[in-house]
Symmetry: C2
Subunit: 401 residues, 2 copies
């Protein structure tokens, strides 16, 4: 396990993020949802403490906790007062290494996961973006961690135990800590808690046979939801910040092109955005717009128009605004222990090292209109994938899938 | 206008929150949605700058901006680097005092508001909570700021101008600033920007004739959404923290009663929560649970059971955990300029003064099991109002509306 830390003496708080190779890409065939159910079960008692006792101990330390399961990683994090950091990490060592995974709570845990899966059916924008990602990335990298109902129903306690044993292990795992702590004492403490954690073999994710998926999803509503995705370069690529800045001009802030053209000038929708989503070895830009059914076609057409126009390059003034916003947000991120611990963990995951905010600020400073436009000439938005969800299918331009 | 500030030298950032008496309770009959449309129009240029120029100037300062319209207040806020605070406030002085409200953008602004209103139709949990609040508070205090479509369609530019002139005014307005700034220089600057702002008469909100509303909303889905509300005491009441702590035992954190009983022990739903919502002169607790249709009745019954049980009092260990979590979160809040500026503005709005986090910490420390149980004996959850949204109505126990 890698430990990465950024001590900041002026803080009262400390925050930590664990990343572990327990994402849903490792769900075996017929058990889709296993990674999420394993995460849910791990929270039901660990070490010497049952479910109630573990949660109570954590809350007595004032820890704000959060966990999530992505395609490749499971993430567990917490933030608390600096003095409570060592005790909080001790509880998480139990959680990660010695969860009880109690048999008598499997049905309740499963039920929670089924409820979460079904709640997506009532959340069409969320559902669309899940379906868009599923179609954009090759199996198993585009999976939703919610899994499917037959898979969740089929999970036995043995599956949870096996998944935990294979995917919660020090090799491939990262612990990042930010805030007020002493680096040497943290190292000693983490060594004590995790030093004798036995490694486990890497397991490769198994792709399932992809079913043929349609790009229009029928949904009874007065609203339509439009999703567009196109491939881009991952975080570790040397040109990453060029790609990222181009998406920023498209969608970051109220002066961004999508906001201006789709929302402000035409009033087509309340929400429109594009985000660059990066896995270690692949990345894509995902755009979303939600609108009324009668204005959905225009919204799709205008958004595709903006993606094509982006390929023609950006203006210097657009970059200036973006830089000002990013510099400000980097400095504000520096003031949050939680943001920093999450960012440090992700940096290490993608790059095998973690940069300071100063280093990242330097990379932002070095961006020029010319460098970004050079990138866009070589890599204009293309291979657009359009997925829509609503009462009627939309017309997708020739050359767009 | 009241200016309230909390300078903290160790920060790089500064944040500000304006609260103005421009909530949707002041929407005139036949123009529901006017407060929101006015807010949308104010963002379309101010002072010497048209829409693009104003937004660009703000983004060149690296300001992260946010605005919202509630029942009583409109809120405008921003966070930026400390050096950019004066220039950012100057832009907001234009926005609040000298918005262009351009006629040629009214239709687009209206369209954005209509899109937002309609998007609620695709968001059943949001829709339910809007309907619950509408039924819990007397007109006009329970209104949704989204308004209605006939109202938005009827708005003319003159309505927007009149609404702005009446409700964006110094009397009844608050500006709160937190982060790194010099208090005396801030006072001088704000005096220069707002000192000659002319007052306007207070206008009383006009209640519309309440239509008779049903407490079951039919919605085609496999999911059901359950909402329960009951009255409590507002923020300014001396017992407020007693009421607030009781709701904390019910719903704050993973060891809370609702989380334990509804989610963990029974696996009834993925999300369940209760929040204390306080207006200046009225307050209520709003509970929400989303679940599959077949488990909705059980979810409602268990949640009502927990509300009744809360009236019987809390355990000392529950209060200990809550205190630990709150102390930690107060200290983390102290590290965020944005959180602090918002909290300071709300404190002043409710109390006519703003307490430090130390003072609030002292009030939390003073809570005892006995004080909370005394409050709960005198004020058990009662007059429960149940509103549900889903494919079938649920059975509501006798004595509950």
């Amino acid at each position: 396990m890698v430990l990465v830390g950024e001590p900041t003496k002026s803080r009262e708080s400390a925050a930590f993020t664990f990343l572990l190779p327990g994402g849903c890409a490792y769900d075996p065939a017929g058990r889709f949802g296993l990674a999420s159910l394993t995460c849910e079960m791990m929270l039901r008692g660990a070490g010497e403490r049952d479910s109630r006792a573990w949660i109570s101990a954590l809350e007595n330390l004032g820890v704000e906790r959060g966990e999530s399961v992505g395609a490749t990683q499971a993430s567990f994090g917490g933030a608390t007062l600096r003095d409570n950091l060592p005790a909080a990490l001790e509880l998480f060592a139990d959680l990660l290494r010695r969860p009880l995974l109690p048999k008598d709570q499997l049905d309740q845990g499963r039920s929670v996961c089924v409820q979460e899966l079904r709640s997506v059916e009532d959340d069409p924008s969320h559902k669309l973006m899940i379906e868009l990602r599923r179609r954009r990335y090759p199996e198993p990298w585009g999976r939703s961690s919610h899994g499917d109902e037959p898979g969740l129903r089929a999970v036995k306690l043995g599956d949870v135990r096996t998944f935990h044993a294979q995917h919660y292990r020090p090799n491939g795992s990262i612990l990042a800590v930010a805030g007020n702590f002493d680096w040497q004492r943290l190292c000693d403490h983490v060594e004590r808690l995790f030093g004798d954690w036995a490694t486990a073999d890497d397991s490769a994710p198994v792709a399932s046979n992809g079913e043929q998926l349609k790009n229009y999803i029928s949904f009874e509503s007065t609203q339509s939801h439009v999703g567009i995705a196109y491939p881009t370069i991952p975080y570790k690529h040397p040109d990453y910040f060029q790609a990222w800045a181009a998406v920023g001009v498209l969608s970051s802030g109220s002066s961004s092109r999508l906001f201006t053209e789709v929302r402000e000038r035409r009033g087509l929708c309340y929400t429109v955005n594009a985000t660059l989503h990066a896995q270690r070895d692949r990345a894509a830009v995902f755009c979303y717009a939600g609108t009324t059914a009668e204005r959905a076609q225009e919204t799709l057409d205008v958004t595709i128009g903006e993606l094509n126009r982006l390929g023609e390059g950006i203006e210097a003034s657009e970059l200036d605004r973006l830089k000002a916003r990013i510099k400000s947000s980097l400095i504000m991120q520096q003031e949050s222990s939680s943001s920093r611990s999450g960012a440090l963990a992700r940096e290490w995951y993608h790059l095998g090292r973690a940069r300071t905010l100063d280093e990242i600020g330097g990379l932002i400073d070095a961006l020029t209109r010319e460098s970004i436009n050079g990138f866009l000439r070589a890599n204009p938005p293309r291979d657009l994938l359009v997925v829509t969800l609503g009462p009627e299918p939309l017309e997708v331009p020739v050359g767009v899938s």
